[in-house]
């Protein structure tokens, strides 16, 4: 399927920029190390770092392929396969990060519900890619897109978890599930987290596809 070829090549493309990859992979680590003494803080910051890294990566990948995508469309590819392929690739990168960091947390911290910590990271990685691509779709200039993403992540980090602003932020699910993972509590939190992540994922993916369906539209001329 075309989407998988696109995903494969997207991954290769990104894989060649190993300096960028190192920085992307390392970002969560710095977040983690700074708060390493506190199990809760460190794990949450780590997760947020994963979200930020993956969404930034996706933002740039989506913007970088601006000149190629119309040609792929003319050759016959559908928007779903082009954009879907890129999303699959970046989600894959995110999942790789999650696996690595989950093991780190498992060894290095004493977490109440380790599986929930893993789930928290997983949800964040899954949500991050559509978030990055949605911003990329809305703001096709790299600087503007990066600044928008930066603002979102900053607010995410600084907002009072109890307030309404926090609930509207894309990575709120990480907070919910994370609270359960570290401090325990009702399983309700996990369900709420899953639901929130699901909605954000849907909005991000559907929004991205819709916008690119419009941006990459090719006039359907009848045959002569």
């Amino acid at each position: 399927m075309t989407a998988f070829v696109v995903a494969n090549l997207s991954t290769r493309e990104v894989g060649r920029r190993w300096a960028a990859l190192l920085l992307v992979a390392g970002l969560p680590l710095w977040f983690y190390l700074v708060r390493r003494d506190l199990a809760g803080q460190s794990t949450r910051m780590l997760t947020l770092g994963i979200g930020w890294a993956v969404s930034t990566l996706t933002l740039f990948v989506v913007n970088a392929s601006r000149s190629v995508d119309p040609r792929l469309r003319l050759a016959g590819a559908s928007v779903v396969s082009i954009i879907g392929g890129r999303l699959i690739a970046m989600t894959g990168v995110g999942l790789a990060l999650v696996v690595g960091y989950w093991m780190l947390v498992g060894f290095d911290q004493d977490v109440l519900h380790l599986w929930a910590a893993g789930l928290m990271m997983l949800l964040t990685a899954l949500v991050a890619a559509p978030l990055g691509s949605l911003i990329g779709a809305l703001l096709p200039r790299e600087l503007e897109g990066a600044l928008a993403l930066l603002s979102v992540c900053a607010v995410q980090m600084l907002a009072d978890p109890a307030g309404t602003i926090a609930k509207v932020m894309p990575f709120w699910s990480a907070r919910e599930v994370g609270t359960y993972a570290i401090d325990g509590g009702s399983l309700e939190m996990v369900w709420r987290g899953l639901a929130h992540a699901g909605v954000v994922w849907l909005l991000g993916t559907a929004g991205t596809l819709a916008i690119f369906q419009w941006r990459l539209r090719i006039a359907r001329y009848p045959e002569p």
Binding site: V5, L9, R17, R71, L74, G76, A77, Y221, E223, P224
Partner: protein
């Protein structure tokens, strides 16, 4: 003096001739010089200049009697009264064209008069403000520059573009490599697109445009003046496509001898009409 036949043959290859033909011409030139009891340089002048001259002569328009003309094929593109307006500003209006397979159309005009816009309308990347466009579905688009992924190798590009057209990766790669050979280019497996020289990137763009064997090719003429080593005779490729029965639309930015072209769309000096 450096080996005249070798330089001659290398230049012919660079100009896109098949290796066998290039070697044959080189041997014949050597023999002809021997007949004249002189060196090839004496008889023909500098090797690379003679090679260019020879290829130009062989491609030059034949006078009416000798010309081999293929009968034009089905209509692959038709424009009727195509107009493009941005708010109050009319870029061009009333463009008409009926283009068949085996024909070449050139879009000319001053800078900024909308040549690339018209090409994009033909592709479908932009819609006309008014007028009707009909086009075959099998179309290839070759931009002036860009349109490639800098971090991927040539073969990976073939795979990507081939997959977009529904080709299996293996077949896409082999087709791409084969088309590249016709342009006297052997894509390196290691080099990424951004590491390619300008002329080689042009060749990559051309191959990607025709990878899925389109009936209609839309080309934006690349800038001239690339490094000598990989300069491609762009128009030679255009006429090769025409002779293969395809329809070609070329946006040309330079003054050219347009005698060989079947249709010329002159968009003039730009501005309101």
């Amino acid at each position: 003096m450096i080996d005249w036949p070798a330089v001659f043959e290398a230049e012919l290859l660079r100009l896109g001739l098949q290796p066998g033909r290039a070697r044959q011409l080189s041997e014949e030139a050597t023999q002809e010089a021997a007949d004249h009891a002189g060196t090839p340089a004496d008889l023909f002048g500098p090797a690379h200049l003679y090679a260019r001259h020879l290829v130009a002569e062989l491609n030059a328009p034949d006078d009416q009697r000798g010309r081999q003309r293929y009968a034009p094929g089905p209509v692959f593109l038709s424009l009727a009264g195509v107009t493009k307006r941005y708010r109050r500003y009319t870029v061009f209006s009333g463009v008409d064209l009926t283009l068949r397979g085996g024909e070449v159309a050139a879009i000319v005009g001053a800078n900024g008069c909308g040549k690339s816009t018209l090409l994009r309308i033909c592709a479908g990347l932009t819609r006309p403000s008014s007028g009707a466009v009909r086009r075959t579905r099998r179309v290839g688009f070759v931009p002036q520059d860009g349109g490639t992924a800098g971090w991927l190798t040539a073969e990976e590009h073939f795979t990507l573009f081939g997959a977009a057209a529904g080709m299996v990766p293996g077949r896409a790669r082999s087709t791409g490599v084969h088309l590249a050979t016709r342009l006297a280019w052997r894509p390196s497996r290691r080099q990424r697109a951004q590491q390619l020289s300008g002329g080689t990137r042009q060749k990559l763009n051309l191959v990607l445009g025709e990878l899925h064997a389109p009936d209609l090719l839309l080309l934006d003429e690349p800038y001239q003046g690339f490094d000598q080593g990989t300069y491609l005779d762009f128009w030679q490729q255009v006429f090769a496509w025409r002779d293969a029965g395809r329809a070609v639309v070329v946006v040309t930015h330079l003054l050219h001898d347009l005698q060989n072209v079947d249709h010329v769309l002159d968009l003039g000096g730009g501005g309101d009409r």
